[in-house]
Symmetry: C2
Amino acid sequence: MNQTSPSALRIAIAGLGTVGAGVIRLLDTNRDLIAARAGRLIEVVAVSARDRTKDRGIDIAPFEWEDDMTALANRPDIDVVVELVGGSDGPALACSRAALAADKGLVTANKAMIAHHGIALAEQAETAKVPLKFEAAVAGGIPVVKGLREGTSANALTTIYGILNGTCNYILSEMEATGADFAETLAEAQRLGYAEADPTFDIEGIDAAHKLAILAAIGFGARIDFDAVHTTGIVQVRAADIAQADALGFVIRLIAQVDAETGADGQERLLQRVRPCLVAKDHPLAPVDGPTNAVVAEGNFSGRLLFQGAGAGDGPTASAVVADLIDIARGEVGAPFSMPVAQLAAMPSVEPGHRMERTYLRFTVKDRPGVLAEITAAMRDADVSIESLIQPARAHEGGEALVAMVTHEGPEGNIAKALKLLEGSASLTAAPLVLPILPN
Amino acid sequence: MNQTSPSALRIAIAGLGTVGAGVIRLLDTNRDLIAARAGRLIEVVAVSARDRTKDRGIDIAPFEWEDDMTALANRPDIDVVVELVGGSDGPALACSRAALAADKGLVTANKAMIAHHGIALAEQAETAKVPLKFEAAVAGGIPVVKGLREGTSANALTTIYGILNGTCNYILSEMEATGADFAETLAEAQRLGYAEADPTFDIEGIDAAHKLAILAAIGFGARIDFDAVHTTGIVQVRAADIAQADALGFVIRLIAQVDAETGADGQERLLQRVRPCLVAKDHPLAPVDGPTNAVVAEGNFSGRLLFQGAGAGDGPTASAVVADLIDIARGEVGAPFSMPVAQLAAMPSVEPGHRMERTYLRFTVKDRPGVLAEITAAMRDADVSIESLIQPARAHEGGEALVAMVTHEGPEGNIAKALKLLEGSASLTAAPLVLPILPN
């Protein structure tokens, strides 16, 4: 439509790990196609990373080099900074703040930074009237930020949930496939590069909680409230639990979920949780295995929508980063969290406990008479109704036995009451495992 | 960010069927939330339909009424026309052209019109510098037009395929669940409102072909070429085929697929097809049942992405229509087919025949000796390698028997050769059914 060729979108990349290198490779490989779709060239002008000489499999000689990322962000010859350093604070945050302060657009894949500082950064971007985009921060190559911001924008959502951590999903589906236990599978995942040397953020559910907090803000028009996410990781899940779940028709997945509830006062509240759940084999999330991610959003008009794809990796993450750059090149940029920051509600959080759930419970017990009676009595006294109970012969290990059960739907709080009654019991050899069953 | 409250986006709705009524209900139900996300009110000013007095379960008294849709499109007090009349030509096209000619934006759910006239309408919209949007034309409430236009924009796609017709998918998954034959299941679907009184467009695959042609244009930067879609419907699929497929580990789904191929001359070509396929039970599309739709896009960096949700219905379709209106209200509008019309390539189409496929074949034969030998000889002579062959006892009907087989991967064209050799054979009582097997 323009008679004159529009000028290129000039970008700087901070951080040249696998994703940074992926972005450079993608912009090069798909250069013409991206220019046609973006309406202009997207050109890397300058880069910065910790080590200039490291072999990354890409040629960085054509780009200006900056040792200092804040200096990179302040270069007058760039329009947008792409922050791919990682970490919620430190150089990533300094570079991002500097970019927005210098009236540059900011594209980031940094979920920890957005979960902790996203609202402040969005305010800064609004003031500067520059774009802030972070599609790659959630679910890798899946366009779920756009999906919620633009795809479901007409809907009041009731829930968003999904599989947001590829490391956990890889471990759980490998345990399922091989029958191996957690520690062994984690070690294998580390060897194959699916888990980091320090896997804490992944296996404790913190990474998924970062992503959930971001989706909750976009989907529900709320200020990000990372501290309100109730988070449980997958460390307690044993091979025996996966076998029991399988026998009962379920798989185990780490599910991140945010539900909206309207209180008696008419005020909307959010319940945000990350926890391993039993997922029925005919649920759309059950076949999601390996490092794949998937997100379900349920709207009052759209019904249930599912977005699925690669949750990590340099290619998919670069795909999301460059999609954001194309949006910016097209001038299709609005409020990062779907509405201006001033309109985002500081939504109160709900404490769990009152919702109705079916639950899987696994007790590690001494293999002696009377244990079952003790457990079932506690269930009865806490008003928990047992749907099925299995004491698997093959789970015996030394003098220890496993007792697994599935409850009928009932208030979550009753489960906590039953466990309280069993606290300190000499029959239990370890803390019981409680896994909710995701409704279909 | 604006100090003064921005003015409302004023719309006119042409067509008040279930979707039109759904849009009005949605704009009313989610009014505040939509205004917050859109940054301004979206206000219905005027409506038009064939019958003013029909009971639609909504109150149209607050809106201006126009008997004539072209007059509606020309009203000076509206910004955008929402065309929900349907039909590729006639009043829908007249109203749409009039809207763009009067410099109004156009939002439509009309796949037939976009498949046939989308490029001409996009040119008109470009000239007038007004938005043209049609998220609701493909896959109901699933934001797949946005998904391809914005989500996968950084990628060269290799293929897009999916389940795009809810009626066929309902019929096939019902046949699967009940064992009933096609005619019976279609009648039941009509009774339940899942199929129209004249189901031709759905069951012959034409509706899916309309949608596929639109997705192909967006995903591959091509001018829409509806006539190039090779289309086969589901009428030939029998209960026995579904039972055979099940025994072999497959379900049958109507798959719409576009593949890009680069010829020896370096020129990219498209192969667009709609046809019933065998889908392995562990493929992400296998669990997609009932009126659900799903689309897979495979990009050179994103890898495989899946979008899934309700493919039709007033709520989901209204959700997509209003998402487009919110994009327009936000000013986030660009080229409807991802790049300006002048840059869309008139991509040549590929004739099928040379691709490698595994294939399911079902022959209806006279129940007499020598028939199997005749069929397998034809396969051998056409260089088709048989992986497994079943002559199910229960498929006998009178003097007729069914022979089903699955081939090893081989050139599609060889199957056609084998069938040519069998043409006119006295052993066959009907034309054989050929169903490709979707690769996993």
